[in-house]
Symmetry: C2
Subunit: 523 residues, 2 copies
């Protein structure tokens, strides 16, 4: 039909150009390795990133080529992202919690040409490169990139279509070898517009935003795009994510909004328990990556006046799936019921479709089932694979087990592989964890499936007690009394000094299962 | 490259499907002609809209066909929108402030096949149809659509690409005949994601949103898409937009956010002056369409505690261009200076590029110049035209004159285009001039926009009489009688001995505006 709207491709370079043009003096600050804060503006970052782009082009990097980064959330890492993506190359964010062999496997699979690395991670990078001869060079984020920036004039960005790949992120979230999700400019751009919304992260130009979630964990959940997209101040925390450091950053940089996995918030709350003090000017935190215990949510809300947004997502969804935010539905309920909705994983934004499929065709709507997702930022095919990651209708099986309640709120009851199947019935490990976490002596806890001759599997509670605390098994099991069916109560308790953490900082339940799968049998 | 994200086209049917799935019980209410409120939920609206779609299909409406609506913001109008767009047809929103002849010209230009009309507007619709035989039928919004909905099973939506046209809106904002802007599913979808943002309209599922701006005025600025997109309650005000009616709606429907042109807010403030009372629970209003007087902004903010978001846009931008919201930049200034930023037209969101071009190459950055825009929801080519509406780089000349200050805030200082904007609606100065020139005593004439406290602008007729001629104001105004809507008739007449002429020998209307802008105020 004659008549049309302008062709304006959704490419990510436009995000930093927007910040440079309309929020030129807004601050982007990052914790340097020595603990001091480096400070720049969006205008400076954009100029520097364009110069770094020119250095990559001079090296021979072409659109579609993979350039890997291995680093914490820092200013040089932020600039490197836009430098890589701005010329149509693919920014492959490596997970710094992996060892050299794992990293090399992934870099080979990705076909990375260059590696940009934090100075502190140079040893692992060198070890990795020895296993991965195709990598043409290592550039140190900071000293190395500064030198290149000084030596080059700005490159021109853009000029490619919105379906150009922009980022690559590997996940070992499901079984088998790690698999790469190849984000496009379009999918990341749309994901950015989604998370900015008031009911999701709710970010504006008056905010100071602290992404504690790593840039290698599904693009820091999109925050390194969303902050410049709205002109918010961006605070990059570097390598120190302990409670004291996070507390200092919040106060020192006027942080109003932040996002991280539950373990980080637990560290911060423990720190505040020890030293006292408040969290002003922090107003809102997004908690996701694993289930946020209701007790943590209550402490942040009731004691510190923080609005907690519980979020569910996964690398394959870019990553955002759902967020729990107040709504007409939650406001119409009793405070207790409404609160339960806000403790759920929440609802999807426009652009994410979800469905729950039960194995039992006669199951009612409240029966947990396998969760499928689909949307404008959902993986279609893993990097380098020939077959789709979805079914013919585009549905991607998440591997999570969930219920969608009649208000449209999602309740993840388990990972498919975490579920405890006792006597043919599912017991929600996450439900039990939420209860165990209520106990005042418990710092971290996990419920895993232990093998059992009689029931197939039975729940086993693994706890890490708070420093200096001690308590009996009976006391630890007390919170379950009357709150769950009797057959859900864990059959045993294991105490550990420190929980094993996975690559993205979540409790590594797979490691726990490997270690304690036979625990109930042996005893 | 191997590996990709899912193909998920940005089509508008998904917006109402999203609301139906995730916010099924959220209310959509609309003032009925008798003043009572009709109440439905998103789930009901979606079902009804799909049934109305089936009726359109049964009539033979195909993707791309234009179906016109002529109506206030009502529930049946809202349902008709999605019914039309959901099957890939084009919803052509006619401006009910035009007369039958103007409407017929536009409907012929658009090639409308059907007309859906408010019962109260049936007379003008019939008169219009007499001039426009290609219209195959008239359906009354309410009685007529209800009957069709009852008689049909739901149709299937979607199945077309995101570049499918979805809406058509004519503007007489620039010179010459009215021109149609043909919105696509993609452009409206992206515009929706933009306006939801905290720094723009800032809408969430806990909001109750009242779009007073008509659905025929650039899609109610996008609100009829944004409210279901986030699951907000939607309150449709119907035909009564006077202060008392708006006041009643705000209190009665718990309205937290609203949007309208300045004239509407003036009416509400005048009403409150008379009867007293407050505006709770209203928290935020978007004011645009013409400049919001700082005094109005101050009264709403200081006296009623309302956050005012001053916005600039135009039909060709879908319509949003800029919004003034608090930011780090405004907070860093003195209250007075920061306040001035919030009284400006504000900053563009990601997805809108702006530039100011001065005719004087030596002009400093603070010199007003011609404003150009470009973005993912900017017109590329007017409906039915062969030539682009933009230059080769995609820049669309807005016809506004502006300064962009060093904080990135836009200040509209003037208008290049030759039109009068009265109460948010255009009056064609050229149309009036053509009529005035008919008078035998008139040698030259010009109609300019004069400032007016109540309507923003009103038409002022400037005449140079033939030598030796003299005649009364009443005689000069006589030709307008019955040929244009009553509210188009000039509010005053200025007689000059000689028209100022510009460089090309045309009447210099800018010089006239400079001289007589205050004429109606002074008198
Ligand atoms: N906030 C505003 N301040 C000044 N002029 C405005 C504002 N909003 C809209 N306009 C004028 O209205 C025109 C768009 O009209 P329309 O296409 O009918 O929405 C713009 O080009 C401006 O001339």
């Amino acid at each position: 039909m004659n008549g049309s709207m302008l062709d304006w491709p959704l490419t990510l370079d436009r995000i930093l150009v927007h910040a440079e043009r309309w929020h030129p003096d807004q601050a982007v600050v990052g914790a340097a390795p020595d603990g001091t804060m480096a400070r720049r503006t969006y205008a400076e970052c954009a100029d520097r990133a364009r110069r770094l782009s020119a250095a990559l082009v001079a090296h021979g990097i072409e659109p579609g080529d993979r350039v890997a980064t291995l680093g914490w959330n820092t200013l040089p890492h932020f600039e490197a992202w836009y430098a890589i993506m701005g010329i149509g190359a693919v920014c492959h964010t490596l997970n710094l919690r992996m060892d050299a062999a794992q990293l090399a496997w992934i870099a080979r699979d990705a076909g990375d040409r260059l590696l940009l690395v934090d100075p502190a991670l140079l040893p692992v990078a060198e070890a990795m490169r020895a296993l991965c001869p195709a990598i043409e060079g290592i550039i140190v984020l900071g000293a190395g990139t500064d030198a290149l920036i000084a030596a080059h004039d700005p490159a021109r960005w853009g000029g490619f279509g919105e379906d150009q790949p922009a980022g690559l992120c590997y996940t070992s979230g499901t079984t088998g070898d790690p698999k790469g999700v190849l984000y496009t400019h379009r999918s990341n751009f749309l994901h950015t517009l989604a998370i900015i919304q008031p009911d999701l992260f709710g970010i504006g130009a008056a905010d100071s935003v602290l992404p504690i979630v790593p840039m290698f964990h599904a693009n820091a959940w999109g925050i390194a795009f969303a902050a410049p997209a709205v002109g918010a101040k961006l605070v990059l925390p570097g390598a120190r994510l302990d409670g004291a450091s996070v507390h200092r950053l919040i106060a020192g940089e006027g942080v109003t909004m932040s996002a991280a996995v539950p373990t980080v918030w637990q560290g911060l709350l423990d720190h505040l328990d020890r030293v006292g003090g408040g969290l002003a000017p922090l107003r809102r935190v997004v908690i996701g990556g694993s289930a946020c215990p209701p007790s943590m949510q209550r402490r942040l809300t009731d004691h510190y006046g923080i609005e907690v947004r519980h979020a569910w997502g996964m690398t394959e969804l870019s990553p955002l799936g759902t967020v729990a935010a107040p709504s007409a539905a939650s406001a119409a309920l009793s405070p207790e019921e409404g609160g339960r909705l806000l403790q759920s994983q929440g609802r999807p934004p426009l652009g994410v479709d979800l469905k729950v499929v039960s194995d039992d065709p006669d199951a009612g709507p409240d029966t947990p089932g396998r969760l499928f997702a689909r949307g404008y930022a959902t993986v279609g095919r893993y990097f380098g694979r020939d077959t789709p990651a979805t079914d013919a209708e585009g549905w991607f099986e998440t591997g999570d087990v969930a219920v969608i309640d009649r208000h449209g709120f999602l309740h993840i009851t388990d990972r498919d592989k975490d579920v405890v199947k006792s006597g043919g019935e599912w017991i929600s490990s996450q439900g039990l964890e939420a209860i165990a976490a209520e106990h005042p002596a418990v710092a971290h806890c996990a419920v895993i499936a232990a093998d059992c001759d009689r029931w197939g599997e039975r729940p086993l509670l693994v706890v890490q007690l708070r420093e200096g605390e001690d308590c009996s098994d009976a006391s630890l099991l007390e919170p379950f009394d009357g709150t769950v069916p009797r057959w859900w109560v864990p059959d045993g308790i294991v105490r550990v000094d420190a929980m094993p953490l996975g690559a993205t900082g979540k409790i590594d339940k797979r490691a726990l299962r490997d270690a304690y799968r036979d625990h109930l049998r042996a005893s």
